[in-house]
């Protein structure tokens, strides 16, 4: 575990030694504000909850999280440091896990910094704080799912732009997999069981069910197994493609 920890610390601190962290956090907070107050009409609703705030997170993550994850492996390959990393005494899973956790904790920090919205809600009224807490957990889990996709895709290419675009597309599919837009693509030629599976993989479904404030073990299991599967694929891809 100490190797994972070493990688984790290096990765997390590297966010803050470059402007990336600050740019990301500022844009994340600014967009959150715009979505919540203007598009979500938070004041106009005159309800003390954070529904409009969380409603836009799936959309916000769609573009911001791949921007965070695109460098994870593509940059290592581009600069050749992957050769250094993979010839140190560590296993691929440790490197993949350490990098992923650092990115996830970083997105958690960005999410945590939205706390003034929560303070405002409490100042203006009496929101249901347990529901807000569960919603934060849901948002954090969803960020992890996006990141796992992005990390895996980043290992496929040395070009960060390509990593970004492909990650956005894949995240988009999982975001909307419960809607006719995606399901119609498969309707008619795939068996119903598979279509229901695809529909069950939707981020939106699981996220929205948690936003009601209910912790359903199925939603938690979904996000964790989703992350684990993508990281497993990530490990395999790094193993196969590290020296290309």
């Amino acid at each position: 575990m100490s190797v994972v920890n070493s990688i984790f610390k290096r990765e997390l601190s590297s966010y803050f030694t470059t402007p990336l962290a600050y740019v990301f956090i500022v844009i994340f907070l600014a967009l959150n504000g715009i979505f919540t107050f203007y598009l979500g009409g938070w004041y106009e609703r005159e309800q003390a909850d954070l529904q409009p705030f969380f409603d836009y997170h799936p959309l916000l993550y769609l573009f911001l999280i791949p921007a965070l994850s695109m460098r994870l492996w593509a940059e290592e390959r581009k600069t050749g440091t992957i050769e250094l990393l993979m010839t140190l005494p560590l296993s691929t899973w440790q490197a993949v896990t350490g990098k992923f956790l650092a990115a996830w904790v970083f997105s958690g920090i960005a999410l945590f910094l939205t706390f003034p919205v929560w303070l405002t809600a409490n100042y203006l009224g009496n929101p249901d704080n347990p529901v807000i807490f569960v919603s934060y957990v849901a948002s954090f889990l969803m960020a992890g799912a996006y990141l796992a996709i992005g990390s895996c895709v980043s290992a496929v290419t040395r070009n960060q732009v390509i990593a970004f675009v492909i990650a956005v597309v894949i995240c988009f599919i999982f975001l909307l997999s419960g809607t006719p837009l995606v399901l119609d693509l498969f309707q008619g030629w795939l068996p119903q069981v598979l279509i229901e599976t695809i529909s069950g993989m939707s981020f939106t479904t699981h996220f929205n069910s948690m936003l009601k404030g209910v912790i359903d073990i199925r939603d938690i299991v979904f996000f964790f197994s989703f992350i684990a599967s993508w990281l497993l694929a990530n490990i395999i891809i790094v193993e196969m493609k590290k020296s290309d």
Binding site: S2, V3, S6, I7, K9, R10, S13, S14, T17, T18, T79, G80, T81, E83, L84, M86, T87, L88, P89, L90, S91, K242, S243
Partner: protein
């Protein structure tokens, strides 16, 4: 298994699609030995190193590092190796000290031992002046030394360096060679280079690689002995070259050829392969009372041998 053979490579092969980068290479490196890989670019030097360090998987063949098969013990093998990859990659956003601490961290050093390791690597690679500077702002020479410091940080049994002196100025090259010579006693070292003088300066053994094959494996002296001008005599006369000089010199039994040098009033006397002619030539000079200003026995030119060996195969 206690053995002095630290790296053992048997029938190693690597294919990229239809292209064979490394073609049936076998060699050993013992403790206390510095083996230099020589070869033109794209000869398979780096690919071989990448396979020994576990970065690439061979298509066929066997690699034993300190008696351990890299397939079965990848982590154990990697703890024993210090590796400087080609181009000395490092995390540019980290400072020199931060980067080396990270490497020490991964290699399992903690607390006091960690800072000792980092400091001694910084001393050896002479990096004190850039301790707190981000690696990406360093000059090429410093970057290379950061890579070197990273490779020797854990005092490895086996050191593998891909072009360790590439991009360094003559003084830095000298320092790095001194460092390698110092460490050579108790390590097995494998370096690649295309600087021929380096082979002479630091290697106990040289292997010439071209087109994925080892074409020569022996001491630098043996390599020089393959040169046409090995043990040849270059002489410069005080005045014009005497008329009969060429003829007389050719009559010495072991002389194969006598050539006019480009330098004025100079001759090059080439011996038969393996023969030594210096004595006979000096006797002749004395007997003929020639006025010779300069007299040099040449050791042979490595670049000539290198060209001879490597162009043969590339033309095939």
């Amino acid at each position: 298994m206690v053995t002095d053979v630290k790296i053992s490579v048997k029938a190693l092969r690597k294919k990229f699609g239809a292209f064979t980068a490394v073609d049936d290479i076998s060699f050993d490196v013992n403790k206390g030995e510095v083996l230099g890989f020589l070869g033109p670019n794209g000869a398979g030097k780096s690919t071989t190193m990448k396979m020994i360090t576990g970065f690439m998987t061979p298509t066929a063949g066997k690699i034993l590092v300190d008696g351990l098969d890299i397939d079965n013990y990848p982590i154990e093998v990697k703890t024993r190796i210090g590796y400087l990859p080609e181009g000395a990659p490092a995390y540019g956003d980290m400072t020199t000290s931060g980067f080396l601490e990270f490497i020490a961290d991964i290699r399992g050093y903690r607390g006091r031992e960690k800072s000792d390791r980092v400091n001694s690597a910084i001393d050896k690679a002479n990096l004190g002046s850039v301790f707190h500077k981000p690696v990406e702002t360093l000059s090429k020479g410093f970057k290379r030394r950061v890579g070197l410091a990273q490779a020797i940080l854990h005092d490895p049994l086996i050191l593998i360096m891909d072009e360790p002196t590439d991009g360094l100025d003559p003084n830095q090259k000298h320092e790095v060679r001194e460092l390698i010579n110092e460490m050579a006693k108790d390590k097995a070292i494998l370096i690649s280079t295309h600087i021929l003088e380096e082979v002479d300066a630091i290697c106990d053994r040289a292997a010439i690689i071209a087109c994925g094959k080892i074409l020569f494996d022996g001491t630098p002296q043996q390599l020089q002995a393959m040169s046409l001008t090995h043990n040849a005599v270059r002489m410069k006369f005080a005045g014009e070259v005497p008329k009969l000089a060429k003829e007389r010199l050719c009559k010495i039994g072991d002389v194969s050829d006598v050539m006019l040098e480009s330098e004025i009033n100079s001759l090059m006397v080439i011996p038969q392969a393996g023969a030594s002619i210096a004595r006979q030539v000096t006797h002749l000079i004395r007997d003929e009372c020639w006025d010779v200003e300069e007299f040099v026995v040449t050791t042979g030119q490595l670049d000539e041998v290198f060209r001879k060996i490597t162009t043969q195969i590339t033309q095939q």
